[in-house]
Symmetry: C2
Subunit: 571 residues, 2 copies
């Protein structure tokens, strides 16, 4: 005996009501064809997550309510739970789950726990819901009020807290807890989610049916990975990450005598018996390299496509960062949609120039070489009378980077392309990058990827493509910006393995200097110098292109630092 649920892990777009509506309608139809008793959708799938200050536009909220009104009649055959923005009696906004059954709106649950930390600002927008909501799925065969399956609703954060609505719903007899989420990805997040859901299942003795959003929205990737967890804590079903799908799961439960309890339960039908042929198989979790690679692919693809671009252009130095960026672009968008441009100056080595071309050829993307030496020369001459006898310094290095940024932007403007910038997290942390230079671009694919992980993901890229699209020489060449003679990153920065541990401790974990030192193993002076570099370069990060969050704390809305900041971490 079982209850068939369809986990509708869909990829919606913020504000695209027409397309989001079609996706929801289509999934409801597929669930009905699959004889599902219930189809569940992600949090705020009507509007897309997060709509941010669009929520302050009454026309936006109205368009969302209008769409809900059009969707509800589609629930005649299959009950659906989907996320939308509701208005309470006072007109305050509520992050809500609509329950449509028999073609009617039978209940609406308001999210009770509103996250207001990390990337979340939900208290800016929403009023918390005031009470749990229960549904009784009543089996067609069973008579009257006996023989029902009680289902409790919750939204994302609700299930992460220890004394939230889920516990109350279980106490009131719910043996199935439905949670609809928009839970953003970072490496390791899936395991965190599993731990929480397993704990809740064991603690409440209920089944957990969890649907997560999939897709990229600006700096966030929602990775899907919807699941069903048994009361024993076993993960009964695991949907793939990074893919859309409507996944049918037969949950082995029986009707129970009806408990009265919390609130007035809404009733939905339950077919009870059917075959299991349509039901999808569970997947295994991905390895970390593949998981991050696919998160970056999805985040990039969705940023490009949802913003109406069809082609990207990348400055290709022959170094590992640009190689990985171009490989990701080719993987995410197809090689026809990518142009790589090598822009050598007097300081570009023959090896890196050759590698730039080699990687491009291997990937099959359009490759162009446009040397910048002549325009760099002219600039130097023009600035000579102004600079006088001052020695060359970072100014001349930045100038080359800005000529390249200007060139890429000219190509993007003329051909309607999007520039992808190639900086990694180690660089953007320390300010080892040029504003309006290599930082120029519409999207910074690997900006949250530490340099040590750039290497690991590049190895994975070769696996992904099934051949060495990034040749060994790119891995072996010591990192260099090639902006002055014999330059090496390590002249300015600590070794990347130590630097990345420092960044993790300081940026992601907010540890004090003494702890940071212990984590990275660098001497006091060096740690002090690097922490200072991180602090004073906030102004560059503020003007950086958006990029995909893959760590527990990315720069941006996840880490809101003042620019004017005289605080020095005590040594």
């Amino acid at each position: 005996m079982s209850f068939r649920v369809a986990l509708a892990q869909i990829n919606v777009t913020v504000g695209d009501f027409a397309s989001n509506g079609s996706k929801i309608a289509d999934a409801i139809r597929r669930a009905a064809r699959g004889k599902a008793d219930l189809v569940i959708f992600p949090e705020l799938c009507v509007t897309g997550y997060s709509p941010e200050d669009l929520l302050f536009k009454p026309s936006f909220v109205q368009a969302n309510l209008d769409l809900v009104r059009r969707l509800i009649p589609l629930t005649r055959k299959t009950t659906a739970v989907f996320g939308y923005v509701d208005k309470d009696r006072k007109g305050s906004l509520v992050n809500a789950a609509a329950v449509g059954a028999g073609g009617k709106l039978v209940a609406s649950y308001g999210k009770m726990r509103l996250p207001n930390y990390g990337v979340f600002d939900e208290k800016r927008y929403f009023t918390p819901g005031s009470q749990p909501v229960l549904l009784d799925a009543v089996s067609a065969g069973a008579a009257g009020r006996s023989g029902a399956l009680r289902i409790g609703l919750s939204i994302c954060e609700d299930i992460w807290v220890d004394d939230g609505p889920c516990q109350a719903e279980a106490s009131a007899g719910a043996s199935v807890l439905v949670n609809i989420s928009a839970s953003p990805y970072h490496a390791g997040k899936l395991r965190l989610r599993e731990e929480v859901l397993v704990r809740r299942a064991k603690e409440t003795g209920a089944w957990i049916l969890y649907v997560n959003l999939v897709g990229g929205q600006d700096e966030l990737v929602f990775d899907g990975g919807s699941m069903a967890v048994a009361p024993s804590g076993k993960i009964f079903f695991r949907a793939p990450q990074f893919e859309e799908g409507v996944f049918l799961v037969d949950v082995p439960v029986r009707p129970a005598p009806h408990h009265d309890g919390l609130g007035v339960p809404a009733r939905i039908p339950w077919r009870v018996s059917k075959g299991g042929a349509a039901v999808k198989r569970s997947v295994s979790p991905l390895r970390t390299e593949e998981e991050i690679f696919r998160a970056l692919m999805l985040g990039l693809r969705d940023y490009v496509r949802k913003n109406g671009f069809t082609h990207v252009v990348v400055g290709m130095s022959g170094g590992i960062d640009s190689a990985l960026t171009v490989a990701l672009a080719a993987a995410a968008l197809g090689k026809e949609s990518v142009t790589a441009v090598s822009m050598p100056s007097r300081y570009s080595s023959a090896g890196s120039r050759a590698d730039a071309e080699k990687v491009s050829r291997q990937l099959g993307v359009d490759f162009q070489e446009i040397p910048i030496e002549e325009v760099f020369q002219l600039w130097l001459g023009m600035l000579r009378p102004v600079f006088g006898k001052r020695a060359p310094d970072a100014t001349e290095e930045n100038l080359q980077a800005r000529i390249r940024g200007t060139l890429l932007m000219a190509l993007a403007n003329k051909f309607g392309w999007l520039v992808l910038s190639t900086g990694n997290k180690s660089e953007i942390s320390t300010g080892y990058c040029t504003l309006y230079g290599d930082m120029a671009g519409g999207f910074a694919v690997i900006k949250d990827v530490p340099k040590t992980w750039v290497y690991r993901l590049s190895r994975y890229a070769n696996k992904h493509f099934g051949r060495d699209v990034i040749p060994e020489s790119v891995f072996r060449r010591p990192p260099s910006a090639e902006l002055k003679p014999d330059q090496r990153d390590q002249d300015t920065l600590p070794p990347y393995d130590k630097l990345d541990r420092l960044i993790k401790a300081y940026v992601e974990q907010n540890l004090p200097a003494s702890e940071v030192r212990r984590h990275c193993g660098l001497p006091v002076k060096e740690v002090e110098k690097v922490l200072r570099m991180i602090d004073v370069n906030e102004y560059k990060r503020r003007q950086a292109a958006p990029g995909i969050k893959i760590t527990p704390r990315a720069f941006g809305r996840d880490r809101r630092m003042p620019l004017t900041n005289r605080f020095k971490e005590p040594a």
Copy 2:
């Protein structure tokens, strides 16, 4: 008979505990010398406002608590109330007011109403305080518990709400309500504050003593304008805006019999009788032009100085935006700290070139002319084979702007200057500006100033300097980017008076398209086109330099729009 209070309207810096501590200590000493019974300081004056995610660093919170411990002993002669970050029993952070009296910490009040809208994220950081706090100022002459003046404490938002701690404190016998604030400026904000405080005074029958922070912090200016409001609603004392000061006010009150009530009141001494010679005179509110001009001066000066810069550089086209920016820089920093650079191309008119020099000479700032024609030519030649037969378009316009941006950044890099960008709100709203071009810079002084107000403030600039530093020709020349032959802003944009009304309605007030139309008087098609321009240019604003908020809703943290956004305001 009176109670003497010192309103310490000070300008602190986020994270600069040494300097903030000195300022607070100095003001306590000045208040003591002035025989004040009580000195009150702004909200979070120990840390600076807002510390944002610095609050997540335990070392930051500890440095703040350490400073409080050092300040408390200074309150032996004069009671002080100052804002700091407290930790509650669970270790949660509280936005608090310390009361130091007789050299001891006699009470700490936790802000009960935490704003989490507009520019505020206080629920991200703080736990609300659980109860009002009262002080009894006991007159030295009066015997025992009779003859006291009961004072209620509150912090900023607390006094803006209709059923907050102020009402509770008044009900419990407070006849003086002290409110310590960090209330950011926008044009018209002072009047809003006065209305609220007057309403509270009348409603509670209490005196309101209100201290506001002064100074710039990134995009916000805190304008001071501290005040004392009588129970009648009369504004008894008004401190100047945009200036630091310790203002002594003799509040004409008498000791009253002691009421028992809410909580346990802390006791502080009250000298009761003294002369009024030291007391400062109240000021009149400024006219709007002067107020905004001074807000911009303060915001600019503080951004530059608090970030350790001593010199700024501005690209000077001869147009009104750059003229006003240079005038503001000269007014805020002194003419010796400003370099204006004219960078003419083939499209720069003789008139604007001459005006660029004229404005600079009038202001006495360093002036340089560096033509960009040669490097522009070289770029065009270099791009010709890549662009093929494609017609010139915005690409070539942007190219000129980016050459100028690169030039200014080269000067800034070489000489350690800060680039001020010159775009106004009308441009940045519609995207009529070039990313990495005229948008390049560390600070965008007038980015929240609509074009029509650029004219008004430029008129005021001439008044401020007492001569026509901006000549009539600059006011008269039709606005043009001068990036192609015979270009006029009005070829692309609606007339600025209508455009600015549209922006106000759409950006500041979130009105639907039909209302926007009514406000600006433009035809449907035109409104649709401009709303679309505003929406799709969010990506440019995301990479813009910070600038000073002067309107009720600036771009930035005040208006958090997704980049990926398919919502189209219904016509």
